[in-house]
Symmetry: none
Subunit: 200 residues, 4 copies
Amino acid sequence: MSPRRPEQWKKIRLEKREKILDTALELFATHGYHGSSVSMIARKAGISKGLLYTYFDNKEHLLREVLANGMDELIRDLHLIPDQGINREMLLSYIELTFGRLKESTRFYQLFFSLVVQPSVLPIFRQQFIERILPLMKLLEKYFEEQGEQDPLAKAYLFIAILDGVGMDYIATGGIYPLEKLKDLFIHLFLDEQPEKRGT
Amino acid sequence: MSPRRPEQWKKIRLEKREKILDTALELFATHGYHGSSVSMIARKAGISKGLLYTYFDNKEHLLREVLANGMDELIRDLHLIPDQGINREMLLSYIELTFGRLKESTRFYQLFFSLVVQPSVLPIFRQQFIERILPLMKLLEKYFEEQGEQDPLAKAYLFIAILDGVGMDYIATGGIYPLEKLKDLFIHLFLDEQPEKRGT
Amino acid sequence: MSPRRPEQWKKIRLEKREKILDTALELFATHGYHGSSVSMIARKAGISKGLLYTYFDNKEHLLREVLANGMDELIRDLHLIPDQGINREMLLSYIELTFGRLKESTRFYQLFFSLVVQPSVLPIFRQQFIERILPLMKLLEKYFEEQGEQDPLAKAYLFIAILDGVGMDYIATGGIYPLEKLKDLFIHLFLDEQPEKRGT
Amino acid sequence: MSPRRPEQWKKIRLEKREKILDTALELFATHGYHGSSVSMIARKAGISKGLLYTYFDNKEHLLREVLANGMDELIRDLHLIPDQGINREMLLSYIELTFGRLKESTRFYQLFFSLVVQPSVLPIFRQQFIERILPLMKLLEKYFEEQGEQDPLAKAYLFIAILDGVGMDYIATGGIYPLEKLKDLFIHLFLDEQPEKRGT
DNA sequence: GATGAATGAGATTTCATTCAT
DNA sequence: TATGAATGAAATCTCATTCAT
């Protein structure tokens, strides 16, 4: 056997790392962090426990990496620049992307929600989450303000709540959930409605 | 000395049982089922591990009882009779009650959501949950149909999604969440709107 | 309710004590000493754990009493006086009684055998047992010597071994064991045979 | 450094497994199944409790393996083929081997007897035991029939009873038991006797 | 006399982590 | 790099015994 060149080694390591992260995501998402043992993860990933510990310092670090990994994927191509404000088109594309990601990365959303609901598992997580969502809230508030909403902040909260609620219900019910319909209804609700007509 | 009378024993047991259930709910909700040890629960409830096992056969049974207990409280006074259909007033009262319960029984909602998202912890739970929510869905669909909605089922899904999303966000953010505002917005959205005006 | 007279109390206590001993015998015999919990015994005897401890100091004492009780029953009417030697008639009656006791007190034999085989459970027991069986051995040896046996001690050992073996097999196989036949064969073997004819 | 080769791992595991089985046999035999804790076994075998569970799924499985192991040893070289019947020579060799095994594998016999007497510990065991002894009974019955015995089945029962009784007494009394003498007497009883002379 | 709640020690079992090879 | 044996702490659960009433 010829010795592998450095970049080959690197590639192998990266692939194996990815494999571990995927497996860990799946197990953490379905059984929870405390409900998934390192042995289970290693076995399902097809490696030894010992090797896993050369990739990740410990179980908590593994969880952090799983989260970081998933977050990166989640916000890929999702460029909402806080300073510039958003328009109707940008919001539409944001919604489309978010619903798409929900389908692609269901597992990650599942883990995500479980950690949001149960923050004691990884205390820093909730803080990070709030920090990340605040800029979005600001943008939404500004957008709804420009649209002439009476209470733009509340509307922003509602926007987020629906995204979260649809996500949770989609995860809870699985394939039978009418995700597309909900998306259309959602878009209709936030983009087509003419708020100035309300109350007249 | 005379032994305690049966009703004395009963009272003692009932009170202690309640205490254990409360403690377990709190810990299961914040740390998750696997993240809460029986020792923790016993210590926090001020009793020995051994005694806990005279009240509940095992940890899983304790969880089931916690759930059953919470469910009972959740649906107390919430009489939606499937056969008769619902009107505006009944829906309003349902919403008011649900938002109220969210505030009163936040802990239970937290546990509830975590189990919905992570069904492997207690597999029967998801099934039970779906069975319980189906009648409500039917009622909502019928109501929205009578209101002249184009897609009443989707609207019903949206209704549930918002409740879930608001609940989750309220739990995730704690006291700072503008629950009352969201309730008003929610009521406005589903009860005040005149759908026949849409698109005109 | 009129207060019970002292002898009534005494009678009640004695009966309850008997009930506990019976229950303990049954459980110790079937599940073993370590396999039978005090709770099980109390529940099956229809009393509370606390009461049991007013009758017996602790679990080991209970076992001792069970053994003493059973032993008394076992050797009732079985008068083999070491000094006087035994004759054919006495031996026959001893065999008859022993086989009869095996049927009556199967449970006790079961416990007995289990303790003989596993002496660490109650260390004193083996010693007591050996002390009790030695006089019988002496009598048997003397009897077989008088019968002209070549090796009377070995014959005595065989005598005991068959009793033990039949007892064990009877317990192991239950009702289907042909105890009567074995008794006849046994009697024939030790009482009918004319040893002086052997080898001629 | 290179990892251990598979056969090295295998050898290590096999040896340690044997060590655990030996220790478990000794403790189960002397203190009984319920009387021997996993901690005791692990400590005596010189390993941690945790490691024991990588070798055996649980305590009951350990007991089963101990039994299977011992059974294999017990019946090694003991070929009694049911179809062909047995002759005097084969029976003699069977007796010799059995008495030999009693000496070699005293511990196993001890465990064996305790489980026969107390079947609730491992319910399947008694059934297995009966199934294994039935063929032997059949062979013995046929042999004694050919020898002209009046009641060959009873004689077969007696044969087994003596083996069991001698075994039990040997275990109960330890080194002082005259095993060899009993063997000679046993052989004399079943192989030298001329049954046709009886009753004349 | 009688109850059964209560305990603490210890039982069985699991698991994150380390280590020799 | 990779293995899986090995550990010790901690998890779930049991049980002999005590105690207030």
